[in-house]
């Protein structure tokens, strides 16, 4: 356990930029963008019409009072959930590059000989990297998302002050801790949903001789092309694509629940945890386990020259 903790820390030290700095910068960037947007919109007048948001606030406050409590909660919570899409998307890209480099970079810089000089099993090493992508990365992206959600509430409160309201309505409607919990679970569950992708990319990473990203992507393209040529169909690539798309649906299940838009791709989740009841989730984990076992085997027995 002590070793596993050290291995997880090791992953953080190596990938601090993509795991911590990237989401932190995203939060700061979007927070700044919202502020700049507000300030610049405030100075726009077109043909004498005032487009200033701040001057419209009293009207808005009046409108809010006409809405039911349920409607207010829906509006506020959807606004809090929506950034999951962008944080989740960046997290997906980061996880792709993390997985594909996870077992290749150490061979490229030969540091694998240092890691292998220590009493750490290949199983612990590979599993620590899998835990990093399915748990640690989502937790970091959630932390940044949560900071942005709190910022959004403060931002909304201040806006309402301009309308003469106390702004408490935003906080009262937010159900913040439930939203935060659901956001965290959404990101973790969607990464677990994509486990077969990470498993495959880690397997490609341990096999790669050069440009690891090509080892991760070309075989998928080749299988798709082969299938198209032989069977004149595109089942494989559409299966991969649908699985990734459903991963996004898992992350945003809480939004789906509030918007009540219904399902897509034959899946309709009201909460990220409902993914547990979808067969594809479990099949994905089994596929991931297969790839990870392959990665462990190859890392253990490959002749490191």
């Amino acid at each position: 356990m002590r070793t596993f903790k050290a291995l997880i820390k090791r992953e953080y030290w190596e990938n601090r930029g993509s795991m911590f700095l990237t989401p932190a910068i995203m939060t700061i960037f979007f927070a700044g963008l919202a502020l700049i947007g507000l300030i610049s919109a405030n100075s726009i007048t077109v043909n004498g019409d005032d487009f200033s948001i701040l001057n419209k606030m009293p009207q808005l406050v009046e409108q809010i009072e006409h809405h039911s409590e349920e409607e207010r909660e829906r509006a506020v919570q959807i606004a809090l959930y929506v950034p999951i899409a962008i944080f989740g998307f960046v997290m997906f890209l980061v996880s792709v590059f993390y997985s594909v480099g996870s077992l290749y970079d150490e061979r490229k810089d030969r540091s694998i000989l240092f890691w292998k000089s220590l009493p750490i099993s290949d199983t612990s090493t590979v599993l620590s990297k899998f835990a990093a992508v399915t748990l640690m990365i989502p937790v970091f992206y959630f932390a940044a998302l949560f900071a942005f959600q709190i910022y959004s509430l403060i931002f909304g409160t201040v806006l309402l002050w301009f309308g003469g309201d106390s702004g408490l309505v935003v906080w009262a409607s937010s159900n913040l801790f439930v939203v935060a919990f659901n956001s965290l679970v959404g990101l973790v569950m969607s990464s677990l949903w994509l486990a077969p992708i990470w498993g495959w990319l880690m397997f490609a990473s341990v096999c790669a001789k050069r440009v690891a990203i090509l080892w991760g992507t070309l075989p998928i393209a080749l299988v798709a092309i082969a299938e198209g040529t032989v069977f004149n169909s595109a089942e494989f690539i559409s299966m991969v694509g649908k699985h990734i798309a459903k991963g996004a649906m898992v992350a945003t299940a809480s939004i789906n629940n509030l918007e009540r838009e219904g399902g897509a791709l034959g899946m309709d989740l009201q909460h990220p945890l409902e993914a547990f009841s979808v067969a594809d989730f479990w099949i994905g984990l089994v596929v991931a386990a297969g790839f990870l076992a392959g990665a462990i085997y190859i890392r253990r027995f490959r002749d490191e020259s």
Binding site: A6, E14, L113, L118, P119, S121
Partner: protein, 284 residues
């Protein structure tokens, strides 16, 4: 005597290439063994087999364990330094120390801090910011702080300047080596290890051509600087090698008594480098 490494019929093939051809040897506790051979002779293959980094045929036992099956246990008792380039560049010095502390049951943190305290290495630096010499100092500090029974060194001083090379071995001898431990070292720089080895193994084209203690080597091999008038006599004793030094002939003899040789010239022990050249030419 307890053997730390015992190899019997150790073989390794890379495709059609026979890297090791049924090699037998043992390394006893408390020895410093030099494994010397030209490039491609199989030195690194031997080390990789010992460290469980490659598959092999034949029998191999390291500290009573099978490196191909019990690698994780083995690495608690064995350390190795592959060469200077393998510490990850992105790692901070203090994180490297913390990591080894966490994962290695026989790592002594105070010792590591003591060694690092004697250097100019800043604990907050990343490894990529250190000079080559500093990286080696760090690696050595980490390795010497592990209570290992076997230390394997593969060209450890490659690419280092001479100051660090000397210091590297001096420190190993002074701070790490004792009768409970063994060191197995491969190097091209034979002259820099020759005074610290207790045993010598020469390997050529996957076979061992010499396996002896340094005492046996100096008993068995004698170099004689022969006066011009005695060259006939010298040749009659079948020298294994001859070379010219300042216009005089120097012959290397194997298993010829010292008394006989003293009669024809000035005798002394050959350098390992000369012995190596002789042994490598001999079998051709």
């Amino acid at each position: 005597m307890s053997a730390i490494i015992r190899a019997k019929g150790l073989s390794k093939k890379y495709g059609a290439f026979q890297a090791l051809n049924s090699v037998d040897f043992t390394v006893e506790r408390g020895k410093i063994v030099g494994l010397v051979g030209p490039n491609g002779a199989g030195k690194t293959t031997v080390l990789k087999a010992i460290l469980g980094l490659t598959s092999f045929d034949g029998e191999l036992e390291v500290l009573g364990l099978d490196p191909s099956k019990q690698r994780d246990q083995l690495m608690k008792r064995v350390c190795f330094i592959a060469d200077v380039a393998v510490l990850p560049k992105w790692l901070k010095v203090k994180d490297a120390v913390e990591f080894v502390t966490e994962v290695h049951p026989h790592f002594n943190l105070e010792r590591a801090q003591h060694f690092l305290g004697k250097t100019n290495i800043n604990p907050n630096s990343k490894i990529k910011e250190l000079s080559k010499g500093m990286v080696v100092q760090l690696h050595l500090a980490l390795v010497m702080s592990i209570e290992a029974e076997l230390l394997v060194l593969d060209e450890p001083t490659l690419g280092l300047d001479i100051l660090y090379r000397k210091e590297f071995y001096n420190q190993l001898l002074a701070e790490f080596f004792d009768e409970g431990r063994s060191i197995l070292v491969t190097t091209h720089q034979i002259e820099e290890v020759e005074n610290l080895l207790t045993d010598l193994i020469f390997i050529r084209e996957g076979e061992i051509v010499l396996d002896a203690s340094m005492d046996e080597v100096s008993d068995k091999y004698v170099e004689v600087m022969v006066a011009r008038e005695n060259t006939e006599k010298a040749l009659a004793l079948n020298p294994v090698m001859e070379r010219d030094v300042f216009g005089r002939k120097v012959y290397l003899f194997e298993n010829v008594s010292r008394e006989e040789l003293q009669a024809i010239g000035e005798t002394h022990s050959p350098s390992i480098a000369d012995l190596f050249v002789a042994k490598m030419k001999e079998a051709k």
